[in-house]
Amino acid sequence: MKKILLFTLICSASLFARMNVVASYPYLGKIVKAVGRENVKVKVLASAKFDPHFVIPKPSLIPAIARADMLVANGAGLEIGWLPPLLKRANNPKVRIGAKGFVDVSRAIHLIDKPKAVSRAYGDVHPEGNPHFDTDPHNVLPIAHYIVKKLSQLDEAHASEYAQNFSRFSAHWKTYLRTFDSQMRRCKGKKVVQYHELYNYLLKRFGIKAVAAIEPLPGIAPSSRHTMELISKMRKQHIGTILQDPYHEKKTAKFIAAKTGAKVIILPHDVGAVSGTGTLESFYNTIAKRLCH
């Protein structure tokens, strides 16, 4: 009798053993949770309040990486300024770059804006392509699928559950995309200016034209000359919308808006970046609502 009890206890313990997953950004945390459900314990490293390029590599982030079974990164160079030193210090061979537990979701995405020539003379360029694919909800499913593939490889015991979770999530997300698309279709052909090239995937998909950026080069703060050129360009082409992320300074956008009569729209770049965007759905809803209403 005792033996059986012990056996079931051990069984249940191994059943309840949850995968420790660390996600670099909040949206990845949400996707991992959606497909991993009760079999994963998720810890997110970066705060959505800050620029995803410039996360402070605080040593306090190391313990979670040190104990992780899997690390889910955005990839395409977005974490290059902060994740490598943390990974090095965490001394966890399971999630080292190249290890099975290191999951770079950019591999599930066909990256756009891949520069033809790479040089730092062009600013903070990402040689692999634009890493900001999270602002387009159509990229959620490929990412989720990729994560499930990796989760199932690492945690074979729960592979069928991950598959089930994925099909449930996939069905839900496809329905969600239908309503999202219908909202977005209203602003097809719109012309916009953005601070940093954060929304290109979304804009491209829905035929919105990103005419220019407030940054003269990626990662370079606005210069007065570039701003003046931008103002005349916006006047000439009658561009009435400026897409501003929540973390950059808003002075330049407001100045341009005052000169051109354009409207500044603050679009979240990640789950939780502005209030009321705590879930994947509300995050994308906020983007659609603010961009197309």
């Binding site: 705060s47 402070i56 590599p57 605080k58 030193p85 950019s106 995405i109 699928h145 199932s152 994925f166």
Partner: protein, 442 residues
């Protein structure tokens, strides 16, 4: 005669072979054309078929609205092909091409323009009373910003590469106008279990906070006074081994031990065998969403040139408050206490630095620092200190221009007694990091 016949027959056979080759090629071409036509036909057929199934599926989805979703194993839902799956199987690199195995290489340059109230020949004779002396045959090394006017301080080449599944290799070559130095060269373990990591080679010790950080990443251009006084301009940078362990706790706790040769002759210098042992404990935690603390306690135990014990104790504290993505306030302090046994008795000396830096935005930051050597030998002054202020402009992440003023009351000059003179210095410095330079740790 026979030669001619052979030659002739050879020529004939060549032309014959050529002819047969031509025919062969012609036949091949004809065959190719045939297969191409067949393939075109098939493509057309398939396209037609696909169109048909698409319309069929569309009508089907219209009619069957309530289709119960059966969870399928993931492999069968091949709708999402990933970039990894569609990787070209054909290799586009040259055979035996090793380009992808090249190490990451970075170039770091640093130079300055200096204005100072002490002339160069006097400045070279500097020493810190009670901590160092002036020896005309072997003057104290001044590695940066030595001369009034222009200084080219160094070019540094750093390389990083993965050796194999088990080790990474790093090397930093420090090149000064007439000196080549292996600043660091070490290997680090990649796959040790239980949160352990080992390092061996020549490296900067992680004793304290600033010792392991390179000059180009310092917030001020000069080394903290207490480190210069106790370890010289190089700091603790020696041949040895290191073992670090990240404890499996929710709060960051790292313990490290190092064994080194002890060739630093300012505090140690008995190199008959490896004589320097280092231990430290570091911990970090967040206060709220935007503030973080890092604290450490370190100890050095070694043998000095007289073969007697030198112990150095260190404590460090760093507090950072992030005000926005690009703006932050950092307070960093370190205290060092040295207990050196000599033939005469015990020498107890101590000092600290404390610095406050404010990053205004991506381009501008500024800071102030106070250095003090507050505990000295009985016969020596204990009012040695220095004030520094810095203003930094970075037009780009990897470019720094620094304007720094310092007022140094810790130096004496020449070999005469009581030659203390305060140094007032203004400096404009540039530092760049080009190439594949890894991100700096916290």
């Amino acid at each position: 005669m026979t030669k001619k016949i052979i030659l002739l027959s050879m020529a004939a056979s060549v032309s014959l072979f050529a002819q047969s080759e031509l025919e062969e090629v012609k036949a091949l071409l004809a065959q190719q054309i045939k297969t191409t036509q067949a393939l075109q036909k098939r493509v057309a057929e398939l396209e037609k078929k696909q169109q048909h199934t698409a319309t069929h599926a569309a009508t089907k989805s219209k009619t069957v609205k309530h289709h119960k979703h059966q969870p399928k194993p993931i492999e069968e839902e091949g709708t999402y092909t990933t970039a990894e799956d569609t990787m070209p199987s054909e290799q586009h690199t040259q055979t035996f091409d090793q380009k992808s195995f090249l190490p990451d290489i970075a170039l770091i340059l640093d130079g300055s323009a200096v204005g100072r109230n002490v002339d160069n020949s006097t400045y070279e004779t500097q020493y810190i009373p009670g901590f160092s002396t002036y020896n005309a045959a072997n003057p104290n090394e001044i590695p940066f910003n030595k001369d009034r006017g222009f200084n080219f301080n160094y070019a540094e080449i750093s390389m990083h590469s993965t050796v194999g599944p088990y080790f990474d290799a790093d090397a930093i070559f420090h090149l000064q106008p007439d000196e080549f130095e292996i600043e660091e060269a070490y290997i680090t373990s990649r796959s040790m279990p239980y949160g352990l990591r080992a390092k061996l080679g020549k490296f900067r010790s992680e004793f304290g906070r600033i010792n392991a950080i390179h000059q180009h990443a310092w917030k001020f251009t000069s080394q903290p006074l207490v480190f210069n006084a106790l370890f010289g301009s190089e700091g603790i940078n020696d041949a040895g081994v290191q073992l670090q362990w990240v404890l499996p706790t929710d709060t960051y706790v790292m313990a490290g031990i190092e064994a080194m040769q002890g060739s630093n002759d300012v505090s140690f210098g008995d190199t008959e065998k490896n004589n320097l042992y280092i231990g430290y404990l570091k911990s970090s935690f967040d206060i709220g969403d935007t503030s973080t603390l890092l604290a450490g306690a370190s100890i050095l135990h070694g043998k000095n040139e007289q073969g007697l014990n030198t112990d150095v104790y260190g404590a460090d504290l760093t507090a950072l408050v992030a005000l926005s993505s690009y703006s932050s306030l950092t307070w960093q302090s370190e205290l060092l206490y040295r207990n050196k046994t000599t033939d005469i008795g015990k020498e107890k000396q101590a000092g600290y630095y404390t610095q406050l830096t404010y990053k205004y935005n991506q381009n501008w930051q500024g800071g102030v620092r106070y250095d003090s050597l507050y505990k000295n030998l009985d016969s020596q002054p204990d009012d040695l200190d220095r004030f520094s202020a810095v203003l930094q402009y970075s037009p780009f992440e990897f470019t720094k221009f620094r304007l720094e003023y310092s007022y140094d009351r810790s130096k004496a000059f020449g070999d005469l007694a009581d030659q203390r003179k305060n140094i007032s210095q203004i400096l404009l410095d540039f530092t760049i990091e080009a190439g594949a330079h890894g991100a700096h740790a916290f």
